[in-house]
Symmetry: C2
Subunit: 233 residues, 2 copies
């Protein structure tokens, strides 16, 4: 059974194309040193205060990265899906984690030890550049998010989260249902609002014929309007 799973898994360089830029020797070195980890739904990958020892790369499933703020109120920083990596920020900054990560659904992860990735970076300028580029893009997103979350009104913030989820995960076959089912609470903690307000605002979007809902399934009826609300705040 475990074997079957392994066989279904894409190789590490298929999952994250950056590893195709390694030399053959470096790729062998990497393949001798990674581990495969499996997490059940809601299982913790790491928590605030832990020391980062590995960099993770999602092979299957999704991981929720969140932070605890004032009075332990959680804020979802990002959702990490297949082929994306995480845990590298704290590792590179040489800090303990300031976020928590849990499996959002059953998840399989490639786990690469800190020393291995540091070695590879030190001897492969392409890989170094990849992380410089990635961190820079991440930082741009974080800055933009900070402005959105603080300056936009509730409707704008929720619209932005929905657009973000749609852009990250796409639609189901019907071409309208967002391909990730978050609880109202998670949606709220992505959008910096209370669960009540997320529920209320979603309902209002349905009344306004911008969305349609069926439990956690959210259909985007009027994407243009949703983008407009997200933009103007």
């Amino acid at each position: 059974m475990a074997k079957k799973y392994e066989e279904e898994l894409k190789s590490i360089e298929e999952i994250n194309e950056v590893f195709k830029r390694l030399t053959p020797e470096q790729l062998v070195y990497l393949k001798q040193n990674y581990e495969i980890l499996r997490f059940r739904k809601n299982e913790m990958v790491y928590t605030e205060g832990d020391t980062p020892t590995h960099i993770y790369c999602v092979a299957k499933g999704k991981v929720k990265i969140f932070k605890r703020g004032v009075g332990n109120r959680t804020q979802i920083m990002r959702m990490v899906g297949p082929s994306e990596s995480f845990a590298y920020r704290a590792m590179f900054a040489e800090e303990n984690f300031v976020t928590c990560a849990t499996a959002f659904e059953p998840t399989v992860i490639y786990s690469i030890p800190r020393e291995v990735i540091r070695n590879l970076i030190a001897h492969n300028a392409d890989l170094a550049w990849h992380f410089i580029h990635k961190l820079s893009v991440d930082l741009g997103i974080a800055d933009a998010r900070a402005v959105s979350l603080t300056q936009k009104h509730i409707r704008g913030r929720l619209a932005e989260s929905l657009i973000f989820l749609r852009d990250s995960y796409g639609y189901e076959e019907d071409g309208a249902t967002i391909s990730i089912y978050l609880s109202r609470e998670d949606l709220a903690s992505m959008s910096n609002m209370t669960t009540s307000n997320a529920i209320r605002t979603l309902s209002q979007f349905c009344v306004d014929k911008i969305l349609a809902m069926d439990g956690r399934k959210i259909k985007i009826i009027d994407e243009d309007q949703l983008r407009r609300i997200s933009k103007i705040g």
Copy 2:
């Protein structure tokens, strides 16, 4: 006169120690390729939408980095002081600028062309690591900021900004006055609040004997209390 200024300036590797890790040849290459730029107070260094062509390193003065949000409401992202570099985020992400930068006071800047820094990074793993580390620290700060700005109340946000300014610029000789004089408006746009609210909250802090003010000079009377307010939000 211009010559005199030059002589007062520290060399580029004295300003930013990371350049001491370059090989002698690389340092020569760098020194043959940088330029020195001078900006008057409030002069623009770059603006939103510009394409980054150089990385900047502050030799003297301070630079204000800000973003325009909803309805062009500005938000100060950070203040950059002597020996700190900026403009690298957009450059590495290969995006146009999403922030604006203006000289906060008369400022002298080392300007290094994009290709030069990319060449150096490609051939010097230390320098690459330096930027990976720096970007990771920046990203941690940005994430923490996002949570603070959204979850803390006005007093907490203002206290946090004051603590940040104190930690970045230190005190004057009196051991209490913060060594940077920002307008109430700038203070507000660092702390995600209106100018009125910044003024009102500063006044309240004075009533509470946490601060004392003389124009733009802000004295911290009770630092413990200020840190407590910043922490609890």
